[in-house]
């Protein structure tokens, strides 16, 4: 049971971070379907940093450097979405999909090239970080506490504050709801949308590194992040684009994911003989059902997905 709690919390942290990322992007008016790709790139940045850092170094340095690298790479990668959808008014669905495919391909190419450069016989796309990963963990009794859990909670609170209590949040939301109105009071819609997308890169990249260090100590980049970016999207929708509800949705969906991993260790669940695929499927089915019943009065930002053109009034 402790294991279930631990997995739930760490998966919920991932989902919460990434969904908040999506939330910022969408509140600024840009649909971010490339979250999966941003996670992959963040994971890559973090994993490479851990690979390069000495495993016996200061724990604080490892945690900070890894997170920072993931965040930076995530933000850098999100620029692809920002340039295309904000400046060139490209189809956001198309760009998001391209980014997801591109991230996995690019990460695999990069890791392979890196591995092969180190050892000509190594053509795998796997990075190991057994020792470095320990820096993130702190054992409290039998419970494996991960610093990322704390980070997720802090960022959740910060996100809520930024979105609802600051000038920036007010302006960001105005751009997602009615960019013409925002423009008319002198808010630079392009800048605000860039900010929204970059924040989604920040949180998505961080979510990526949290995901690949949850439970495992090596990652095969050919696998991408196994749909977690899309699950985060479901969390965001289920959470109705609001940080508090997103946190709750992340916990619920995180629990389903955790169940699929650990249900065999829990007596009564194992006895039910439900295959793990069902637990994996459940979050998506629930989201779909919820969507079917709430979409008519959705709280989605009104102008999301519509490129803003100054000339059009």
């Amino acid at each position: 049971m402790l294991l279930l709690l631990q997995y739930t919390l760490i998966f919920a942290s991932v989902l919460c971070l990434v969904a908040l990322g999506g939330c910022f992007s969408e509140h600024s008016g840009v649909i971010n379907l490339g979250l999966e790709g941003i996670m992959v790139m963040g994971a890559l940045g973090g994993a490479v940093t851990m690979y390069l850092l000495p495993g016996d170094g200061s724990k604080l340095v490892i945690v900070l450097a890894t997170s920072l690298a993931a965040i930076l790479v995530g933000m850098l990668y999100s620029c692809l979405l920002a340039v295309a959808s904000i400046n060139f008014k490209a189809d956001q669905t198309l760009i998001g999909t391209a980014m997801n495919l591109l991230a996995t391909a690019a990460a695999t190419v990069f890791v392979r090239a890196m591995n092969t450069a180190g050892n000509p016989d190594n053509v795998s796309s796997t990075i190991q970080y057994i020792q470095e990963k320990r820096a993130f963990l702190k054992y409290i009794g039998g419970f494996e506490f991960n610093w990322f859990m704390l980070m997720a909670v802090v960022l959740l609170v910060v996100s809520y504050f930024v979105l609802y209590k600051t000038k920036f949040g007010l302006r960001l939301q105005a751009c997602g709801e009615n960019p013409q109105a925002a423009d008319s009071v002198g808010i630079n819609v392009y800048k605000m949308r860039w900010a929204g997308v970059l924040i989604s890169g920040f949180l998505g990249g961080l979510g990526g590194i949290v995901y690949i260090t949850a439970g495992v100590s090596e990652w095969k980049f050919e696998m991408g992040v196994a749909g977690f970016g899309f699950l985060a999207l479901a969390v965001m929708i289920f959470g109705q684009w609001r940080p508090t509800k997103i946190a709750l949705a992340a916990l619920l969906f995180g629990m389903f994911r955790a169940l699929s991993n650990v249900y065999t260790g829990i007596g009564f669940l194992a006895a039910l003989h439900i295959p793990s695929t069902v637990y994996n499927m459940l979050p998506y089915i629930i989201s779909l059902i919820v969507l079917a019943f709430t979409s008519k009065n959705s709280r989605a930002p009104k102008a999301e997905g519509i490129p803003y053109d100054k000339g059009m009034r």
């Binding site: 591109l102 996995t104 749909g227």
Partner: protein, 383 residues
């Protein structure tokens, strides 16, 4: 009309522009891929990008060449079907990102019908099409009656169908591996017949009727969209659903029918791969198969035209296979995935490229011709 004006109108032709922008995307994608190869190892980069591009032609013997071409064609057929699915829906204003899930449904039920029920191939094909169609229709119903964006429901269904396929196909899998049973052993009559086509490709057994059938589907979709009343309605709905409603078209019904047809196309596409015995379904896969997403690449690269997608599908598949042929000890084969995903990304800039081309044409013609004032004045107050 003088020569200059003719040249201008040639370049202004929408089809010509579509082809030009697609070529720009391809060239830029290849260029970036080449730069990446250079960064990894400059020595063999030129050779590697050439291999990616020419694919089967890089094989040594004539027989090996046609056999490799056969393999590429065998995989082009399902890709083309996915691209047609997306293209068809896009014309009606729907982004069928759920083609991947419809493809999974087709694979799942097509294979299950073949392996568990021992049905012959035409029936399996039909079942695959129906399965894909049903999944597409679910997205359609959710869109029409519950206002759920088809992109979101499509994404959810992609993952639901992935896990469902893994669950169901686990019942007909090879006990020793995660893969489903080989059709050639378990139910040969479920294999799509070669109809003599294999002889042309050095007896490549995976070259089947699926390839000409896929091309026929492309032509069929083109005819439906551009020549029929049904296509007129669908496109009108795609361009302006309010006007379509005003004209008495049944928008909701059209959305559902469109996604169902799109789903059926993707589902049949899956059958075109799995019923040729080209490969088996891995019941432990954790990511949505790329076919549906590559279909997006082929759709946009094909200029959103059913006939264009025939060529773009072949190109995408060809560079993917070409990637597998490069020297793996130096370069990762995913370089071709990188290039094709870059091409999709660049397709997002198509409007911008067209704008640049048009600007360039206007400038070059203005220099030499006295510009005539076009009679069509846009009324200032009319937006």
């Amino acid at each position: 009309m003088n020569e200059k004006a003719e040249k201008k109108s040639f370049l202004k032709n929408p089809s010509v522009q579509a082809i030009m922008t697609s070529l720009i995307c391809i060239i830029l994608g290849l260029l970036i891929g080449y730069i990446v190869l250079l960064l990894i190892n400059p020595a063999g980069a030129g050779e590697a990008i050439k291999t990616v591009l020419i694919n089967f032609l890089s094989r040594s013997s004539q027989a090996a060449k046609v056999k490799a071409l056969g393999n590429t064609l065998a995989k082009t057929a399902p890709l083309l079907m996915c691209a047609l699915s997306i293209c068809f829906c896009y014309k009606v204003g729907l982004f069928n990102i759920g083609a991947a899930g419809q493809y999974e449904a087709g694979a799942c039920f097509g294979l299950y019908a073949a392996l568990a029920w021992q049905l012959p191939w035409p029936v399996c094909l039909l079942i695959a099409g129906i399965a894909g169609g049903v999944i597409g229709a679910i997205s359609g119903v959710l869109k029409a009656y519950r206002n759920v964006n088809e992109v979101i429901s499509g994404i959810m269904l992609n993952w639901i169908m992935l896990y469902m396929s893994n669950t169901l196909l686990a019942k007909v899998k090879d006990p020793a591996s995660p893969y489903t049973l080989k059709l050639s052993a378990a139910n040969p009559k479920a294999l799509i017949p070669n109809a003599g086509l294999n002889a042309m490709f050095a007896n490549n057994k995976t070259v089947t009727l699926a390839i000409p059938l896929a091309i026929l589907f492309a032509i069929l979709i083109w005819v439906i969209l551009s020549k029929t009343k049904f296509g007129y309605e669908l496109k009108a709905t795609g361009y302006n659903k309010d006007a379509a409603m005003y004209a008495g078209m049944k928008e909701k019904q059209n959305i559902i029918v469109t996604l169902a047809i799109g789903g059926a196309l993707a589902g049949i596409g899956a059958a075109f791969l799995f019923l040729t015995g080209y490969q088996e379904w891995s019941t432990t896969q954790t990511s949505v198969p790329g076919m549906g997403f590559n279909g997006i690449a082929a759709t946009f690269l094909g200029g959103l035209h059913p006939i264009g997608t025939i060529f773009s599908s072949f190109f995408i598949q060809s560079i993917t296979d070409g990637g597998a042929l490069i020297d793996k000890s130096v370069y990762p084969s995913q370089i071709s995935d990188l290039i094709s995903s870059l091409i999709i990304y660049l397709c997002g800039f198509v409007l911008f490229f067209k704008f640049v081309i048009n600007n360039w044409i206007d400038k070059s013609t203005k220099k030499k011709e006295i510009s005539k004032v076009t009679g069509e004045a846009i009324e200032g107050g009319d937006k």
